[in-house]
């Protein structure tokens, strides 16, 4: 083989090669400049950005969630507890394919369409590498199945967290309320830092009112994670502070007695400690299980609650506004005496009806047979037998201005300021009120309607209880309050006299005596509950009309549907000589305060009196100075 090389010109070859090498060396130099420029750009010009990005990469702030404050009753019984529950959560970044993962999970445990829908919604709002809950409250069996199959569920995790639990279920539903998932609207108004890691918030009741105290303070952990989101080490941490625990004035035994006493009837009861204003019991019946709401209530259960004709979700105790009926008579009597529009000796003749000058239509006496209470009816008898005509006359003498102004200082016509959200103010009508609400002038006829707690007048059961307590305490400014202490530090409650109200003590004695005789006199409308008492209860029955009955017509319950029957009301306090407990209650469509409402009050008062430790109040130890018939 003859090589061409034998005939080559080495010098020319070298020249060609050197030329080419020179060109490539130039290109190499240019490329080298480009690449070095790139590294200079990254490492010098954009160093700050990348350094930040690098830190964001590795350091994650993880909230440490505080446990929500517990709620106890006055005896230390837990009313709202935190219990560990197990949820299935998913970190999207760690799952290879989200759809496959969801398919795998739903093969193992039941995942409803609603679960998936809510999960997708949450997925949109979460931060990267955040655990997104798919299913709450896993059963032990589900947990087992998931744990065994964990190897093919990469990205899914079972996480334990504390969840609110209400051991007394429906007993305290309205007053304690419940926590629920933070909704879209709430998430805009809350401090997102304080709630990081927390997914529930107080929705109603104490849980809502004391949300700030119960929530606690979120802590944080700076954790270094690797690319898969696994925590490698905790760099530093600030511990979470648990929420404050609340001790309430409520007594769960009393609450249970009161709730059970309604026995399926609709109604509400409020019992107040006369010495402190502490709410001993606050019941709205019927009720519901607040635990249903904690992890999100199912549509079916919710519809059931919302569509029930008994309206179990409605908090009648603070939001139900009813005509107070005759239960305000002792108060109006007291106002009359105090303002000298009547005296203790003032009597009337009750023919069973009352004619107002210039008005043809008479006002009937609802609480007597035809013929009325007869001659010589004084204030005491008018209260004991609930004579309407006496109050018709008395109210015209006193005038709406007096009645309205003094009623307000006894807690009617405005919110009482109880530590619960959503309280309603009721209505204590006045000239101004009517002008504003109805654009009409006030008539004497309106006063007559108000005099028996009807007409425009409305009050909540809470207001009735407060009124009762203020009468019981002889004019103390008793303010209803639920929370006794926060983290064992007592909440200051100062009981003062009602300002600018100096009622002669003989009037107080008179009214208390009259109220006692409502229960303890043989003529009293609530005499049925006096049997077997070893102390004295003062009370007043009431009946509130649901539909108006024509003056000439007789009210006959057998002819009308039950939901139009009269409401039965009762206010009471006991013991008369040294009042401890004041009660206000209503039984919707219960017809008569005496038969439907008073027995419930007696049960509550009886339970309270029996449960009080000996020495705490003298009960029947001394002779009551008020003993003896009035007349």
């Amino acid at each position: 083989m003859i090589h061409d090389a034998a005939f080559t010109d080495p010098a020319r070859e070298r020249r060609i090669f050197a030329g080419r090498l020179f060109v490539t060396a130039l290109v190499v130099a240019v490329m080298a400049v480009i690449i070095i420029a790139r590294y200079v750009d990254l490492q010098i010009n954009r160093h700050q950005n990348f350094a930040t990005h690098s830190d964001n990469n590795r350091v994650h702030v993880r909230p440490s969630v505080p446990s929500r404050g517990l709620i106890y009753d006055r005896n230390g019984e837990l009313l709202a507890d935190n219990r560990p529950t197990y949820n299935l959560t998913i970190v999207r970044e760690r799952s290879e394919s989200l759809d496959n993962l969801l398919a795998n999970v739903s093969e193992l445990i039941a995942i409803t369409d609603e679960d998936t829908k809510r999960f997708r919604k949450r997925l949109k709002r979460r931060k990267p590498f955040e655990q997104t809950p798919l299913k709450y409250n896993l059963t032990e069996e589900e947990r087992g199945i998931l744990a065994v199959n964990a190897f093919r569920l990469q990205g899914a995790e079972i996480t334990a967290r504390l969840t609110r639990f209400y051991p007394n279920r429906e007993l305290f539903a309205h007053v304690i309320g419940y926590v629920g998932r933070i909704n879209e609207r709430e998430s805009q108004s809350i401090d997102s830092i304080a709630y990081s890691g927390t997914d529930s918030i107080g929705k109603i009741g104490i849980e809502k009112y004391y949300e700030d105290q119960l929530l606690g303070t979120v802590g944080s952990e700076n954790v270094e994670t690797n690319a898969r989101g696994r925590v490698m080490r905790i760099l530093d941490s600030v511990d979470a502070t648990p929420g404050d625990s609340l001790t309430l004035h409520l007594d769960s035994r009393l609450q249970k007695v009161a709730y059970d006493a309604f026995a399926g009837e609709r109604g509400a009861l409020v019992a107040i400690d006369v010495k402190t204003g502490g709410i001993l019991s606050i019941v709205s019946a019927p009720s519901y299980d607040p635990n249903l709401f904690v992890s999100g209530i199912s549509q079916k259960n919710y519809n059931q609650l919302i569509n029930s004709p008994d309206r179990p979700m409605f908090d009648r105790a603070i939001r139900g506004q009813y005509p107070p009926g005759s239960t305000i008579k002792p108060l109006f009597g007291l106002i009359g005496l105090h303002n000298n529009s009547i005296t203790m000796d003032y009597t009337i003749n009750d023919p069973g009806y009352f004619f107002m000058e210039g008005i043809e239509r008479p006002w009937r006496d609802h609480n007597s047979k035809r013929g009325g209470h007869g001659k010589g009816v004084d204030l005491a008898e008018a209260i004991i037998e609930s004579c309407d005509v006496y109050f018709y006359k008395m109210s015209v003498k006193t005038g709406i201005d007096m009645l309205s102004n003094y009623s307000k200082v006894f807690g009617l016509g405005d919110i009482t300021g109880i530590d619960l959200p959503g309280e309603r103010p009721g209505i204590m009508p006045s000239r101004d009120w009517k002008q504003q609400a109805r654009q009409e002038a006030w008539f004497n006829g309106d006063t007559i309607n108000v005099s028996i707690g009807q007409g425009f007048m409305l009050a909540t059961p809470l207001q009735l209880a407060v009124m009762s307590a203020r009468i019981a305490s002889r004019g103390k400014m008793i303010k209803p309050v639920l929370v006794q202490s926060i983290n064992a530090a007592p909440v200051e409650t100062e009981i003062t006299d009602i300002p600018d109200l100096e009622v002669d003590s003989q009037y107080w004695d008179y009214v208390h005596r009259a109220m006692r005789d409502v229960v303890h006199s043989p003529k009293g409308t609530a005499k049925g509950i006096s049997k077997g008492l070893d102390y004295e209860i003062a009370g007043k029955t009431g009946t509130a009309q649901v539909i108006s009955i024509d003056a000439e017509e007789e009210y006959d319950s057998s002819k009308i549907e039950k939901n139009k029957w009269d409401h039965a009301l009762f206010v009471a306090f006991a013991p008369v000589d040294d009042p401890q407990i004041a009660v206000g209650l209503i039984v919707e469509n219960g017809e008569h305060g005496s038969s439907a409402a008073a027995p419930i009050a007696r049960q509550v008062i009886e339970t309270y009196m029996k449960s009080r430790p000996p020495g705490d109040g003298q009960l029947m130890a001394a002779e009551s100075p008020l003993q003896g018939e009035l007349r």
């Binding site: 690449i35 490492q43 160093h47 690098s54």
Partner: protein, 379 residues
């Protein structure tokens, strides 16, 4: 024919580096190589998560490489010129063997399992192809005629297509480049260069449609906008640029790089190892490495320029330039200016065959460099 072998044995006159030259070692190449290897092991220890296993294996490969390099350097250049075609054929057969008996990972078939160790024939071709083309053109007129260009291109494309089939686009490009450099240095006519350029432009669309696999296309698209798929294909580039950028001027310190130590950085001990170096030693580290590389490449080109034979010139020039392309492609892809193709950083990235293949090339460079100066009586 074998007279040259005898000529080699004559001591070259004078010279301070007599002892090194007598061992047929180029002292500049040797020192830069030692510096690169030591530095590489240093970075590898950190990049592999303080895993001594990788470091030991890599050290063993390097030692083996040094021995192979010295052995290769002892043979005269003429020997390699004659035997180049044999290595080429062995390499080609191995590539065919990989096609049928190869083992692989991540959907690519690249290795031959030799029992003792795994062996990647495509790496060997990075040396065998430029040697063969140089040997072919070294004995012929340059600039090469059409016929010679055609034969050369065929010799290049045969292994390149086999490697692309594995698929291993990165190595295929490098093998092609190494062969093409020989043609270019041999004075490939401007017509050829222009038509090659036009052909390349025209070929890109069909290349995109018919040749490139989806994942390869994805890498190119990712380069254009890595933010589109932060957790998918864009992840690698975002994390590697973050690692480089966060290193700053002086770096975070050895074994202190959070990106690499916390596994944010993919392939940190192989293809992406320069990101670790950039993160932990900063721009100073990068520039130092570049400086060593440029001394090394400069020396290669110097050797090429002073080579006695056409074969020596072409091989040395091609090997030096290919070495630069290695560095350039790797540093570009990691810093996000080229798509991610599997090109390791020479002597720093972990990988046995790559190291050994490189050292074989360096052995030939040394043989060329220490080729005795002699007056060849041509004609």
């Amino acid at each position: 024919m074998y007279r040259d072998d005898f000529v080699r044995r004559i001591q070259s006159p004078g010279g301070d580096r007599r002892s090194a030259r007598s061992m047929h070692l180029d002292i500049t190449l040797l020192l830069t190589l030692v510096a690169l290897c030591m530095g590489g092991l240093f970075v590898l220890y950190s990049a592999s998560g303080q895993n001594l296993y990788f470091v030991k294996r890599q050290a063993v490969f390097m030692l083996f490489g040094f021995v192979a390099m010295i052995a290769v350097a002892q043979f005269p250049v003429r020997f390699w010129e004659r035997w180049a075609i044999v290595f080429y054929i062995i390499g080609l057969l191995s590539l065919l063997a990989v096609m049928f008996f190869g083992v692989g990972a991540k959907g690519a078939q690249r290795w031959l399992d030799l029992g003792v160790t795994r062996f990647q024939p495509s790496e060997l071709m990075k040396v065998a192809v430029p040697m063969t083309i140089s040997a072919f053109l070294g004995k012929r007129f340059i600039p090469p005629s059409f016929q010679h260009v055609f034969i050369s291109l065929s010799l290049i494309l045969l292994p390149v297509l086999l490697i692309m089939n594995q698929p291993d686009l990165g190595t295929a490009i490098l093998v092609f480049t190494s062969g093409f450099f020989v043609l270019f240095l041999a004075g490939l006519g401007k017509r050829y260069l222009l038509s090659a350029f036009l052909l390349l432009m025209a070929a890109i669309p069909s290349f995109w449609i018919f040749v490139m696999r989806d994942y390869q296309k994805q890498r190119v698209l990712t380069l254009l906008s890595p933010e589109d798929d932060k957790l998918g294909a864009g992840w690698n580039i975002i994390q590697s640029t973050t690692a480089i950028g966060s290193g700053g001027l002086a770096g975070k310190g050895w074994m202190q790089g959070t990106q690499s130590q916390l596994n944010f950085l993919p392939e940190s001990h192989t293809d992406f190892i320069i990101a670790v170096l950039a993160e932990e030693f900063g721009l100073i580290g990068i520039l130092s490495l570049c400086a060593v590389y440029f001394v090394f490449i400069g020396r290669c080109l110097f050797i090429a320029l002073n080579s006695q034979s056409q074969f020596g010139r072409l091989v040395a020039g091609s090997l030096g330039l290919t070495f630069f392309i290695y560095v350039f492609v790797n540093m570009s892809m990691v810093s996000g200016i080229l798509p991610v193709v599997g090109v390791p950083l020479p002597l720093i990235s972990y990988g046995g065959t790559s190291v050994v293949a490189l050292f074989l090339g360096f052995g030939i460079l040394m043989a060329i460099s220490t080729e005795p100066k002699r007056i060849r009586m041509e004609l």
